[in-house]
Each structure stands twice: as C-alpha cells, then as structure tokens.
C-alpha cells in the first residue's frame, strides 16, 4: 500500500487539519508516513500545500516526486490546478468548487472548470454549501476530507476515529458535527464519481 497525496488551498483554509486527521489514522493503522508542510509567510493568505505520503514500507523523501501523486485534495479550485505536475496521469483530483478570491486577477471560473473537465478522474463539489447543510460552515475542510476518503486507502471508520481523536477534547457536539460533515462529503462524492 502506498498513497501519495498533495493537499492544497489558501493559507487559513485548514488543509493542515485534514492532514492531521489522515496522519493520525495512518499511524494507528501502523502505516509509515511523512507529511511536509510549509509554515510562515505563505500562511498569510498565500497559496499553501502539504505533501502527505502513506505507505506500508518506510517512506524516504518528504516531498513527492513529479508525476507521482495518487491524489490531490484541494480546498480551492485554482489551487488544485497549481499542483497538477505532481499528479499521476491516472490520479484523482478532489477539489472544492468554490473559489477563494483574494487577488485582483483571479481567472474566470469557466476557464478553471474547463481545465478541471479535461482531467479523467475528478470530484468537484461545493464543500461550503455541503458543510452548511451539515450544520457548520467551519467544517468545510472535513466535508472535503469525507469526499476524499474513498481514495486514501484507509477505511472510512478509521478516519472517523481520527476525527474523534483530534476533536475529542472539544466535546461530543463538535465531534458529532464533524462526523456528520465527513459523512455528507463522502455521500456527495459517491454520487459524483
């Protein structure tokens, strides 16, 4: 088992929480993992990414080589395209449909959708809208995690346990809301595939 994942988004969107939950679940599964993050200046509204590598064998490089990622998980549609050179030709791209516009020259959404349409395997969903249905817009990143779960190589129930572990100290209500968001994302993605 070996899954290489690029997580992307805009500073502050919460890609690192997604990485933390997957990481926690992977470690519990006895998998090897490495996860490279970028902290600091780029977190101020710039583009951010994290390389997450899971395997049943020791992982060498913290960075994923070009063309080797099995999956891109992105909280922002334009940001999902930035890391395409890392994606395998047959890899999956799971992205939020809703743009985060904080630059003056943000491209026309039609051109972004045209690029996404060219990819053979993708799931594009509005995670904020789904999160709202689930009861909290703040759980948008967990909806995204739910949508990406089928591609992680880790059982859905283990990801649920990861959420229980990470959010446990915030109380049952927060855990339940996030589990609901995870399920919503998972269900919507199942329908879209």
């Amino acid at each position: 088992m070996k899954v290489d994942i690029i997580l992307s988004g805009v500073g502050g969107q919460g890609i690192l929480s997604i990485a933390a939950i997957i990481g926690e679940a992977a470690l519990k599964e006895g998998l090897y993992m490495k996860q490279a993050e970028v902290h600091g200046m780029s977190q101020r509204g710039g583009d951010v990414q994290s390389n997450l590598r899971l395997s049943d064998q020791p992982v060498a490089s913290d960075l994923i080589p070009t063309g080797q990622a099995d999956l891109i998980i992105s909280l922002e549609p334009m940001e999902s395209l930035r890391y395409l050179p890392y994606l395998k030709k047959e890899g999956w791209l799971v992205t939020n449909a809703r743009p985060f516009v904080n630059i003056p020259d943000y491209p026309d959404m039609e051109t972004i959708h045209a690029e996404l349409d060219r990819l053979p395997k993708k799931v594009v969903l509005d995670v904020e809208a789904i999160a709202k249905e689930a009861g909290s817009v703040r759980a948008a990143n967990i909806v995204m995690l739910g949508a990406a779960t089928p591609f992680l190589g880790i059982a859905y129930s283990k990801i649920e346990n990861g959420i229980r572990h990470i959010f446990g100290r915030k109380g049952e209500e927060v855990v339940d809301m996030n589990l609901k968001a995870l399920r919503k994302g998972y269900d919507v993605a199942q329908r879209l595939q």
Binding site: V10, Y32, R44, T111
Partner: protein, 532 residues
C-alpha cells in the same frame, strides 16, 4: 512506547525534554519557532520548571543558554539561520570557552527561502567556529541526536550545532521516544575562570585547546553511527549525501543503491570514510541541502584525479532546495509525460490580513508621502514587509532585523528627506533600540514608525518582549516626549494619522510614531478562547 507523530521541530523539543533539559532560549523565526512553542505547551516541561520564555533576540538567548550551561544544567538554544548571525559574537566565543552543562544550538536553515531573506548554510558557521555539527536525515535521527547530544556535548566540553532545514523542521513522521532522564543539578566548572574569562592571555590558551580538540571531534565523527557507508558493486560512481539529501537519493533507488554511498550526519567530515569512498571511486557525486560545503572540502582532498559533481559543476542547481526530481536528474533519471500547470493559474502571494492595523498605517503613510518627491521608507523583518507588495508598494528596503532605523539614519546623514523607518514592536526590541540610540545621540532627521501589534505576528503570534512599554523604552533612550506620539490605526482615524505623520516628518529631528492596534490574528484567537 508507540510512535508519536512529530514535526522535526517537535521531535527536537521532545528529545530535549526527555534528555533532562533545564532551559530553552530562543527568538521566534521560521522554521525554528515550533521547537520552543512545543516546550512552552508541554505539561511535563512545566512540571520540571524548564525555562521556555522567549528571549529579546538570538544573542541574548544564546548568552542566557550559556549561563545556564555554566551553572551545570542542560540548555537548548534555537533560531532560524539568520538568527545565528545575530548570535555570532557569542557563538564564536563559546567555541573558545567551551561549556559545562550540555549545550545544543539548533539552526533551522531555509533553503529556497520559503520565509527568509537569504539561504545561508550554517554548517559554514559551524566549521568557522570549529565545533561539531549534527545534521539529521529524518525525524527519528533528529530525536536521537538531541537525546544523545547533551551527553556528547558534556563529554567533549563544547557546544554542538544541530543543523536542520525547512523540510526537516516542518515535516511530520512517526518518532519513538526514549526513557526520560533526570535534570542536572547545579554545579560549576572547576576551571571556570581559566575558560570563561577570555582575556587575550587566557584566550590564547583556549584557542590552543580548541585546536587540540579537533582530533577528538574527528574521532567522534569517524565513529559516529550517523556517518554510514553503504557499499555496492558498481564503483563507477561514489555518492556522498548530507542530512535529508539521503532521502531524495533513497527515493530514486527504492530497491537499493546502485553505487557506494556515504551518508553523512555528523561533522567534521569523517576523513576515514571519505577516503574509503574516494579510493574506491574516481567519480564522486555530492548531494547536500544548502551550500556546497562538503563539495568544496572534497576539492582539497588528496584524491588522485578525482572528478567531483554537485552544485559547483552544474550537476545540481547552485541555489534552492534539493528535491527528489533534481536529485534524480543528477543521477541521469528523467521524468516525462506529466501534467503541466495550466496557464489560467495565477500567482497568489501572501498578503496582510484584512483588518490588519499595518494596512491603515501604510494607507496613511502612502498618502502623506505623495507630497514628498524623494521620500524613502526603510522597512524591516515582519508581517509589515508585505507592504512591499500591491496594493501598498510602500517600502524601499528590508535587509535584516533592525536595519530600518539605522538605514534611515544613514540615508538622512547623506541628505535624504524625508527618511522614514517602519519597524514592528518585536523587531524594535530585538534589534531596533540600539539604532534608535544612535539616532538620538546625533539628532538624526528621521521619522520612525513602530507599527505596534503587541505580538510577534509573522511567526504566529508569540509574545513580544516590549509589549506595553514601547513608549517608555523610546523615552528612556532619549526621544523627546513631544515627538513620541501614539495613534490607533483605524480607517476612522485616517485624517488624524496623516496629520501626525506630516507634522513629525516636518520636525527636523528624531520622531517616533507608534500606531498601536492588536494583531487581528491573536485577537481572534483570544476571543475564541474566551468563548469556550
């Protein structure tokens, strides 16, 4: 014990705690900040009364760490690579005095400059000071090097420099902890005055001692488990890796190395192992994250007709981080048939947060300075450096911590008017105060804006050393009270801010303006915490 998912920084912090640490001393700086933050948040560190408060700058941090070591306890001192420049005066001279309680200095270098103004490789400074340097290739090694490093430092009598880079500092992996050791009790060096009073006559003795210790450091290095030789049948090439470069090499040889490999994690350069490699292979490839430090040393090696590839001959780029891709390319492997970045993708640079007080400061300053053709704004290191980018384009320089005030002074000395400095509160107390004293002593015609958000914001909101006392500090340095003015940077105060800035630019002498409003990131976090 099970595996813990640790950032490299966290592995270092936990290892130091487990090794019986008594104090960490540091100033925040990416990518080193999380080491100290981890210790600050650790319950066991609190229980053990481990010192972990931020220092005013890296030099005060290192000196305090040395004091703790002098008193026999184990001390850790952490900084980003450029922080070691600030602490260099102390650093070079600890190599003369040596230490008493174990002392580790962590330098977190930032090749590719993710969050820095240069990509200096501090292994060079380790060589310069002539002390042992450790460079881990993974998080477990980082843990083990720190765990064992204090004892090694005590055995050798010298501090050890641990060099990590961004991808080690900010990458997570599973780490196995080792049993927790007792902290040291207070004790003093027997030969303390002979070692710690660096008067010339004594310093000469100390330098001879440091020179004599080099053989010992080399023996340590040659017998170190972190310097490993992997043999392989094909001697057409020999490969040397340092630190995390080993991982990129391994990535390219998932089924075992094709050529002999020397993996280096401890310096000085292990001569025996290097000799073994250069005697076996006529062609050597050096893979190192940062400057061609080993590559340059190898060029002076007594190898007959050795051909050396690396960053100096163009096999690898001279600048920037190593990647599995550029290492693969150096090994003759190429990647083809991957997707390209679509043309619609735009740059998304970092920006000042919406609602940030620095925004209002730059809006007001920009408007006033439209009235002055020659105005220049010397800025500094912090969030407000983002004032360089659109829509503000408000600053003309950002060189090093504190350089805004002193550059403004020098330019004013040269005749520039208005000569404006913009510096943050934490950077001011780090390295701006002494420059302000220069300005006051010479009555320089400068306008200094200390944009005070009451935190060290860029690195994530750590305590700022002078919070609540910035005016008192400026007044104490000698700024005239009538030219020491505060304001609240808000849209509604725009006219008042512009008036004050204009008045103080027109004053021919030192003015200090302090726009003060709490960082909205720390404010939001506080509000969230109080709601719980």
């Amino acid at each position: 014990m099970g595996k813990h998912l640790f950032l490299g920084d966290e592995a270092i912090a936990q290892a130091a705690i487990d090794a019986g640490l008594s104090g960490v001393y540091a100033y925040p700086g990416t990518p080193s900040t999380e080491i100290t933050e981890y210790i600050q948040a650790s319950a066991i560190a609190k229980e053990r009364n481990i010192h972990s408060k931020w220092s005013a700058n890296e030099k005060t941090a290192m000196e305090a760490a040395l004091g703790m070591s002098y008193a026999g306890k184990r001390a850790l001192c952490c900084m980003k690579h450029v922080g070691l420049n600030v602490a260099a005066d102390c650093f070079m001279n600890i190599a003369m005095s040596g230490i008493h309680g174990g002392m580790l200095i962590v330098t977190a270098d930032d090749p590719s400059m993710h969050s820095s103004q240069n990509e200096q490789d501090n292994r060079v400074l380790g060589n310069f000071a002539m002390i042992p340097v450790l460079e881990p290739s993974n998080q477990q090694e980082a843990y083990d090097m720190v765990y064992d490093g204090f004892e090694c430092s005590e055995r050798l009598g010298y501090p050890i420099l641990l060099r990590i880079t961004t991808r080690m500092a900010h990458s997570r992996a599973g780490v196995i902890r080792r049993p927790m050791k007792e902290q040291k009790t207070m004790s003093f060096p027997e030969d303390g005055r002979q070692r710690f009073i660096l008067l010339p006559a004594l310093a000469r003795q100390r330098f001879k001692a440091l020179l004599a210790a080099q053989d010992l450091f080399l023996q340590e290095s040659e017998s170190s488990a972190y310097n490993t030789y992997f043999d392989a049948p094909d001697k057409g090439l020999g490969i040397i890796t340092t630190g995390i470069a080993f991982n990129y090499l391994s990535e390219n040889y998932p089924d075992g190395f094709a050529y002999p490999v020397l993996k280096i994690g401890q310096y000085p350069l292990p001569v025996k192992q290097v000799e073994r490699l250069v005697n076996a292979c006529k062609e050597i490839l050096v893979l190192e994250e940062g400057f061609p430090v080993v590559e340059e040393q190898l060029r002076g090696f007594p190898g007959k007709g050795l051909t050396i590839h690396g960053r100096l001959d163009g096999t690898l780029p001279r600048d920037g981080e190593l990647t599995p891709d550029n290492v693969g390319k150096a090994l003759g492997k190429s990647v083809t048939g991957y997707y390209t970045v679509p043309g619609v993708v735009r740059q998304r640079p970092p920006a000042l947060c919406q609602g940030c007080g620095h925004r209002d400061v730059y809006d007001a300053l920009n408007e006033v300075l439209l009235e002055y053709k020659e105005a220049r704004v010397f800025s500094d290191i912090g969030c407000y450096t983002l004032g360089a980018l659109p829509p503000f384009r408000a600053i003309d320089s950002c060189i090093d911590m504190g350089a805004s005030i002193t550059m403004a002074k020098g330019a004013a000395d040269a005749g520039l008017f208005p000569s404006v400095a913009v510096i943050g509160d934490s950077t001011f107390t780090h390295s701006g105060m002494t420059g302000l004293l220069d300005c006051v002593n010479e009555e320089a015609n400068v306008t200094i804006i200390i944009s005070d958000n009451e935190t060290t914001a860029m690195t994530g909101g750590q305590d700022s050393a002078g919070t609540g006392r910035i005016e008192a500090i400026c007044a104490g340095i000698g700024v005239a009270p009538e030219h020491l003015r505060t304001m609240t940077p808000l849209k509604k105060n725009m006219e008042e801010m512009k008036r004050i800035i204009r008045e103080e630019i027109e004053y021919k002498g030192v003015s200090v303006l302090i726009p003060r409003r709490e960082c909205i990131q720390t404010l939001t976090r506080k509000k969230k915490a109080s709601r719980k």
